[in-house]
Symmetry: C2
Subunit: 91 residues, 2 copies
Amino acid sequence: MGFAETFKALGDPVRREILVMLKFGKMSAGEIASKFDLTQASVSYHLSQLKKAELIRENKQKNFIYYELNASVFEEVMLWLSQFGGTQNEK
Amino acid sequence: MGFAETFKALGDPVRREILVMLKFGKMSAGEIASKFDLTQASVSYHLSQLKKAELIRENKQKNFIYYELNASVFEEVMLWLSQFGGTQNEK
DNA sequence: CGCCTATTTAGAAATATTTCTAAACAGATG
DNA sequence: CATCTGTTTAGAAATATTTCTAAATAGGCG
């Protein structure tokens, strides 16, 4: 799977904010970019990092590219983290 | 809390390996360093990053510094991740 | 086809991270 | 106290990441 890429992707505040935005539904690259004070090219770079980490999926329609969350990788990350006792078991 | 630091800390493979080692019990800085092909100074740097992220705690004894996991921050990270549907609910 | 519109790619500059070597520090011990 | 052991800190070099501007691509539309 590649935890390195996943955690690196999650390490950036812009990328975490993109993920939070996508919780409320899919958005096009342009819509996402408009929420940040960054060029579209920079936001495109962040989207590519999130996609590489498989935290989001893209889906082309007309000449828009829509992005949406990919819940399964979040699950895998949580599973990995749970090995450190991060649930409400012990204590 | 500071998810930026936490995820950045988790993004490095050496640091993830340190965390996995600490699952089996506390270890001194020297013991940890001996498991890597890196100088002690470099491993010390990684330990400082993990400590800054509060993923580990230190505990001095004699002239050794022992490191151990801090489960509570793992919990917070999992909680944050769960907002993205990363548990076995929906579907 | 020729041209919009939405988005990405390339390449460069700025910034941050990782690693090393050398030096410093802190506590125990002879 | 002088020194040894375990570890960190400082500073520099190597590498990676983030951002920008400018150019390229891709698909739909008149």
